[in-house]
Amino acid sequence: MPTDTALETAGLGKRYGRANWALRDCTLRLPTGRIAALVGPNGAGKSTLLHLAVGLLRPEEGSVRIFGRDPSTDHGVLEDIGFVAQDTPLYRDFTPAELVTLGRKLNKKWDSALALDRLAQLDIPSNRAVGKLSGGQRAQVALALALAKRPRILLLDEPIASLDPLARHEFMQTLMGAVSETDTTVLLSSHLLADLERACDYLIVLQKAHVQLSGDVDELLERHRTLIGPRITDEAAIPGVAQFVRTSHTDRQSTLLVRTAESGLPALSDDWRSLEVSLEDLVLAYLAAGSNTAARAAREVAAR
């Protein structure tokens, strides 16, 4: 495994109950130093993936590695992970200062001053019970605690889902400011891409327990095009396309969101236009494609 890999999964699967797969056939690789968005609708398996990565869950199938170590058996890797769970659970009767003490007692590698400085900068009272702070402040406390571990990878599970727009903005700003000074890898999940779009340079799209798309944002944008041209009936008529992600047709016109082949698209005839795609379009197209596939598969099963 190359040393520039922060998180790597291979055929990873987690099942609840007998047949309820929360995550399956998940194979992906997150290079170090990236800020990755983990996007997908609710219930797609985002939390499951993060819990597997931090060792809270053990997989039924496949493997997950953080810097080459298995988090479910090798607890030493916890030192390298800063994790903020969904809804930022903290002991509500503890003050932020006490939580910092807790961190110091439970971590070998811990930077109390860093955490306290951050809280002071954000004007968060360090002597008031966490349960009495606002949601935004609580999220900031959780982030400060995660950063105080000086982690090599930061895993954040829907850190801003329950925050108001201003608090979201502030949270993302703090996060970006903190990791820009280091080479910390960040993986944060959200069911809304818009929250993460500006911040991230790596994207993982999960849907219905499967990875729909993953890769470097720039590469993904480069490799996808929207093609608009005369109505086609045969998709094979377009060369240089590796995958038709989304196709829609009117009587006279076809609109195709395609993934191009590695060689790139050859020159198209004049009646075709090739447009760049936005990240949001791309994600929506893959999610729509995923749900079509799933719906089709369900129909096929039902028809048998």
Partner: protein, 333 residues
């Protein structure tokens, strides 16, 4: 871990100390007055003179004992309270230990710090276990002291309620209750159901072992006293009596008779329904010749044997529950 455990449980510890103080405030004066009366009335000396012998003339102490009993026997109901105290301590410390973390989601915070959750669990179990054990030792010593006159005066400390609140078994019960609460909490993942189920399970297991197993720890002894010996079985011997009766010389039971002996004047005295003995059977009659009182019992001297056996059972169960809880914790997320 010590700091964290103290920080998380300091309120509980404080309330426990408060509760102990309240109980002590009741126990200390009643205990002192009971011991005072016990000694000053001469009952203590009277019973001491019998020296735990089984078959003796007990008339001397009978009246003193009744007087003492009239004054203080109503306090034995407090013993019932003492029986249930360990389970409450266990449930309030044990059930929330893991269940509250999961209910609030904080396990995802604390289990992703720099130490493994197994270490977290062992640290917590250990510290809470030691703290609870200290509380239980104080409780056991206090109750043993308080109960001494009452159990010496009647029944002995092998009897059902009094055995359960003295010696070392309360410590084992308390630790068992804590472990039970922890384990059920890892299953239910919610504090209130964990408390309720732990309470029910604790009662079921305690009652099951008390009535199902305790009598069989050691085989009982059989004692016989001829009815013309003028002595009966002493209630002050402190034995745990399984059963008693009167048999004819040939071993056939005398129906309706519990304990009799021949008085100096030749009459039959003791506890019997009149029809059973008064068939013209005087004390010297051939029918009663060689008849004897018997009792099946565990000698008072086996008190500590029984304490250790029962404690051993509950400590073994505690160890199993801790092991199961650790296994469960590895699977929670």
């Amino acid at each position: 871990m010590i700091w964290l455990t103290w920080r998380q449980h300091r309120k509980q510890f404080l309330y426990t100390l408060l509760a102990i103080a309240v109980v002590a405030a009741v126990m200390l004066p009643t205990g002192l007055s009971m011991r005072h009366t016990f000694v000053n009335s001469g009952l203590a000396a009277c019973i001491a003179k019998l020296g735990g012998t089984q078959a003796v003339l007990t008339e001397n102490c009978q009246q003193l004992s009744e007087n003492f009993g009239n004054q203080y026997n109503s306090l034995t109901f407090v013993g019932i309270l003492f029986v249930i105290l360990p389970v409450f301590v266990g449930i309030f410390y044990g059930a929330p230990l893991v269940a509250r973390e999961i209910e609030h989601g904080t396990h995802r915070f604390v289990w992703t710090q720099g130490i493994s959750r197994t270490r977290w669990a062992l640290g917590k179990f250990g510290i809470i276990g030691v703290a609870v054990a200290i509380i239980a030792v104080a409780y056991a010593l206090g109750v043993s002291w308080w109960f001494e006159p009452l159990v010496t005066n009647g029944g002995g400390r092998m009897g059902y309620v009094s055995f359960d609140v003295q010696g070392v078994v309360p410590i084992a019960y308390t630790l068992f209750a804590v472990a039970l609460g922890i384990f059920i909490g890892t299953l239910s993942r919610r504090v209130l159901p964990a408390m309720g189920i732990s309470l029910a399970a604790f009662i079921a297991i305690r009652v099951g072992i008390e009535w199902g197993a305790r009598q069989k720890y050691m085989s009982p002894e059989l004692a016989k006293v001829p009815i013309d010996s003028q002595a009966g079985f002493s209630q002050f011997a402190g034995d745990w009596v399984y059963g008693s009766g009167v048999d004819y010389a040939d071993g056939k039971p005398m129906v309706g008779v519990n304990a009799i002996h021949c008085s100096a004047n030749g009459n039959v005295s003791g506890s019997f329904t009149s029809s059973a003995v008064n068939r013209g059977d005087g004390c010297g009659s051939s029918a009663l010749n060689g008849a004897y009182d018997w009792q099946l019992y565990q000698p008072a001297s086996r008190f500590w044997d029984f304490q250790y056996i029962e404690s051993g059972i509950f400590l073994a169960l505690t160890a199993i529950l801790v092991w199961l809880a650790l296994n469960r914790i590895r699977r929670l997320s």
